[in-house]
């Protein structure tokens, strides 16, 4: 009960600055310091947000975006994790050759590659999935390899000297040691994928949150624009919090995770 009260107090204290900011925003627009056509009042933005939610269009587009992200993200985990494992454990020789190439791919500006993806995949769901896959792939592979690199060989030797079979070795020693590193990669990739899909939908699409945003800006529906911005930000925060919670759940045995969180 006491912990709940403390959490409530922290939440209240934290939201104080946001609430003050909202009041400041409202005051600035109402008094006319900033023209209402350029920056609408928070109340109008809230009204626009509710209208969009109630009409169903917002949720429909969100579902579309989230579907595309999920498919792309799952695809990239399905490829990146095994590849990372293989490179990290058995094919270390390939690591030296593959790493610079993969590092280059990671640093490549995804925005510059959008037209290339659009050439190959059009502007439909397939292209979105491809973009998300590309963007999520590289951090995942690197973090998997890093996670494997951090395995303590003494643990493996100890397990083997106690008679562990290869399967036991994999599931009880190697996998738990690498999960922290992998999860860092997963968290980073998730945020990056969300960011990229919104951008990709703004540049070339006919559905999804980014497209809704762009079309509302084309219609000069400024309150709806702001409403979507806030909605997307809240989604991003939710994804962040979700993955941090997941990370904490999985990384119970890793001390450094507590320290960074």
């Amino acid at each position: 009960m006491h912990k709940f009260a403390v959490t409530l107090k922290n939440v209240a204290y934290g939201s104080l600055s946001i609430i003050l900011f909202l009041i400041f925003w409202q005051a600035v627009v109402v008094t006319g310091v900033v023209p209402a056509a350029v920056i609408p009042t928070p109340t109008r933005v809230a009204v626009a947000l509710c209208t969009a939610i109630l009409s169903g269009s917002l949720l429909q587009q969100t579902l579309q975006s989230l579907t595309n992200i999920s498919i792309g993200f799952l695809l990239s985990t399905a490829i990146a994790l095994p590849v990372g494992f293989l490179i990290g454990t058995f094919y270390k020789r390939f690591e030296k050759v593959l790493m610079p190439f993969m590092r280059m791919c990671e640093k490549l500006n995804p925005f510059a590659l959008f037209p290339v993806f659009m050439i190959f995949f059009g502007i439909g769901s397939l292209e979105k999935v491809a973009v998300v896959w590309w963007v999520a792939q590289w951090p995942l592979v690197f973090n998997t390899i890093d996670g494997i690199r951090g395995i303590d060989y003494f643990l493996i030797k100890t397990a083997r000297s106690m008679g562990a079979s290869r399967l036991t070795l994999f599931f009880k020693v190697i996998l738990p040691s690498t999960v922290p590193g992998i999860f860092t990669g997963i968290k980073m990739s998730a945020q990056l994928s969300f960011f990229m899909i919104i951008a990709s939908e703004m540049i070339g699409a006919s559905s999804g949150l980014g497209w809704l945003y762009l079309s509302s800006s084309a219609m000069y529906n400024v309150p709806l624009m702001y409403a979507i911005i806030i909605f997307i930000t809240i989604l991003a925060i939710i994804i962040n919090v979700l993955f941090t919670r997941l990370e904490r759940h999985f990384l119970v045995w890793k001390q450094s995770a507590f320290r960074t969180n």
């Binding site: 050759v97 610079p100 500006n109 762009l214 930000t233």
Partner: protein, 259 residues
């Protein structure tokens, strides 16, 4: 002799795959593995540079670099002092503002671009603001973290040896926070370079991002690849520059003891 060749091989092995890929890029469309309309051969992409004129390429690259330079420098000038003040002199204020800053920092900068265009005008205003916004947050947060993780013992030592506040700031706080700030600078630069290209794609009439989107609209496929390649090269160059700077300047950083 053998040692020399082995060392050379070690160094060059990083590039084998890349060279192989370029060779593949040249061969695959010609042989017909890939539709040459979708993926023109590498030589054709380079030839498009001649058609585009080197002058135009240099102009666009220069415009993009100018935007990033000005935007990024402005971000440093705003974020670093602000970070020092907030973390050092006003910790209570910074804790109060923390949730608001976290919320604002989470807004994808790309989303804000149309808003910035509406507020600051089409063209340069919106682009500079996006670059500024996307670079300020990482730099601000890492500066605050950097100041926060300075060993208070060092400050006490300096004070007990009679250093005044300015000395402590210049000789303890700045070097102590610098590695963290450098990390922030690097990630800020990555963010704002990404945003630059994105913003130029959406609403500009010069620069590398505009080059890509213009080529796409005109359907000049080789030029699209050329521009993408240019962006990649510039991005890599900036990245290596920052890594080099980090290694050169931070000579006092102790290696963290292995945990």
């Amino acid at each position: 002799m053998k040692n020399f060749l082995t060392a050379l091989n070690d160094q060059a092995s990083a590039f084998y795959l890349i060279i192989l890929l370029f060779i593949l890029w040249e061969i695959a469309p010609r042989v017909g593995w890939v539709n040459p309309n979708f993926l023109p051969p590498f030589s054709q992409v380079i030839a498009a540079a001649g058609q585009l004129t080197i002058y135009q390429i240099i102009l666009d690259t220069a415009v993009s670099l100018k935007r990033i330079l000005i935007g990024f420098s402005a971000a440093i000038l705003i974020a670093v002092p602000l970070g020092f003040i907030l973390a050092g002199a006003m910790p209570k204020v910074s804790r109060f503002l923390n949730s608001l800053m976290m919320f604002l920092a989470q807004i994808p900068p790309f989303i804000l671009f149309p808003v910035f265009v509406v507020v600051f005008g089409v063209g340069e205003g919106g682009i500079y603001t996006v670059i500024l916004w996307s670079a300020v947050w990482p730099i601000l947060f890492t500066t605050m973290t950097g100041v926060g993780q300075i060993d208070p013992l060092l400050i006490k030592c300096a004070r007990s040896m009679g250093a005044d506040t300015i000395d402590i700031f210049l000789k303890v706080v700045i070097p102590g926070a610098f590695p963290s700030i450098m990390t922030g600078l690097r990630s800020g630069m990555t963010m704002c370079f990404m945003m630059l290209i994105g913003a130029e794609t959406l609403g500009a009439d010069s620069g590398l991002g505009w080059l890509i989107s213009n080529a796409q609209k005109m359907g000049l496929v080789p030029r699209i690849y050329l521009a993408a390649l240019l962006v990649a090269v510039v991005g890599l160059a900036i990245n290596y520059l920052f890594e080099w700077l980090e290694n050169e300047i931070i000579i006092w950083k102790e290696q963290a003891p292995e945990l």
